[in-house]
Amino acid sequence: MHPSLSFDQAPPISVPYRFFLAAPWFGVMAGILLAWSGGDALASRWTPEVLALTHLIALGFMLQTMCGALFQFIPVAVGGNVWRPKLVANTVQPLLLLATLLLVAGLLFSRPGLLSAAAPLFLLAIGGFVVVVALALWRTPATGMTLWALRMAIGSLAITVLLGSLMVEALAYGLSVPILELANIHLAWGLGGWALMLLAGVSYYVVPMFQLTRPYPLWFTRWFGPLLLLLLLAWSSQLLVDDARWPLLVALPLLLLVSVYAGMTLWLQYTRRRKIHDATSMCFRMAMASMLAFAISGATFFLLPELGADPRFVVWLGMLAFAGVFVSAITGMMYKIVPFLNWLHLQRLGAPLSSVPNMNKMIPPEAMTGQLRLHALAVVLLLAAVWQPGLARLAGVAFAASCAWLGWNLVGAVRRYQTFRDRIRAAGLHH
């Protein structure tokens, strides 16, 4: 039988929330940084500002929320036991926060000291996280493609961080390494192997659940993850294969695979049974549309070298991936998870259920859709600013404002949780 199955081991609510509450403010920092630097910052992928912006979002926004979500998701969705979640979260989250700030400052101001200090912190924080999560994922008796996607994602996170640390030390100490190839491999594992793999694994589970869609077809979930992994390995072999056509040969199938996932998700949502539109479904649609745009732009980049020669082109790809795909998708997930966790933990306090407010009372739906509209506007401005540097400051302000609104919505949800918790406890004392 399944004796070690953790059916109901959701961690204390503070575990995911400490990650969720921190993340939006990194987005705010990114917006302010762009507003402050102006349009020249986006001239190429190698400006210090772009490298800093990239990691503010990749590590400050995405990795924060994804770590927090995994603490919640692993026990509930794949029955895994995370070892002492509260202790691990309380250690990993501040370390991650500090390491991210050091790395970003080091990249932005070209300070070798900050860079080489960041790397060991990442290895400690993410190394610890990876070990704890991997143990939970390999010990669970559950099966299924979500579980396999999570396993591949956590492995890819380890690879991403190792490569990142290697580059950081190389930059700090002036070692000669093939930095362009390493950066390209690092970003593929970070965005593809970690972020996209995780998003896909989680979507297999939540897309049918939130929108009452049909499940992803079995052939799709069976092949998507392994193919992605295989293509990333092939992509990484550009270090060894000395043929300029090799990246193109790998990138096109990779982009095709990415568009199949995006197209499939849009199709499932289009044919869903539930007819209600909510903030989460809009976020997902925005993310998937951006992913399709990313795949088409990426293919253009490889197939039409004249266009791809403009150094701004890769920045455009980055905007689509970070602001368009991942910030949107993650926002949508938090807008569903946070109200539900509030409700779940409140009703566990033992109050009569009718005294626990429903999910729509936790974050007002108008506050979510309003923030989303601003986010959509910010994404459009960011994309335009890549080609029209004059728009960069405005885009930065819009993105900062949208992230601040997201942060405010989440803070409001936590405050509501605390108010109701105190009320329920006080009522309990009078009985």
Binding site: F7, L212, I276, N360
Partner: protein
């Protein structure tokens, strides 16, 4: 066919009923909403009681696990019944915000409950009860409803 297959299919049936009730009430179409919601309550109740009266006791008797997964599932049934009662009250007072909020909450609770059953508990039941007649009883009861 596995003995829990009828329950599995009945989940999908309840999903359809849920979507219909939610849509009608969100559109302010209360007359249709009342009918759809009554059907949903009826089918969910049939589903819960089939599990509580047939499947869970058989599983507990076969495995000796009385305080494990089945206990959690019973607790979630209780939560869903409470939410349905709240939605019923909202429907009676034509309060579409309260109904929508209740529906949103019920949907997630119901879906993650179904996932746990379909991915974990039902396979365990199929293993433990493969040779019994529980499957036929379940199929009969769900069909009759």
């Amino acid at each position: 066919m596995s003995i829990t297959a009828p329950l599995f299919q009945h989940h999908k049936h309840c999903d359809e009923l849920f979507a219909a009730a939610e849509e009608a009430c969100a559109d302010g179409n209360w007359a249709a909403g009342e009918g759809a919601f009554a059907l949903l309550v009826d089918q969910l109740e049939t589903h819960f009681t089939s599990e509580e009266q047939l499947l869970f006791p058989a599983f507990e008797a076969a495995t000796g696990m009385t305080s494990g997964p089945t206990e959690i599932m019973r607790g979630e049934h209780r939560q869903m019944r409470d939410l349905l009662a709240q939605m019923q009250a909202a429907l009676a007072s034509r309060d579409s915000d309260a109904f929508g909020g209740g529906a949103e909450t019920l949907l997630i609770l119901m879906q993650q409950h179904n996932m746990k059953e379909e991915n974990i508990l039902y396979p365990m039941c199929d293993n433990a009860l493969g040779a019994s007649d529980v499957g036929a009883l379940l199929a009969e009861r769900l069909k009759a409803s």
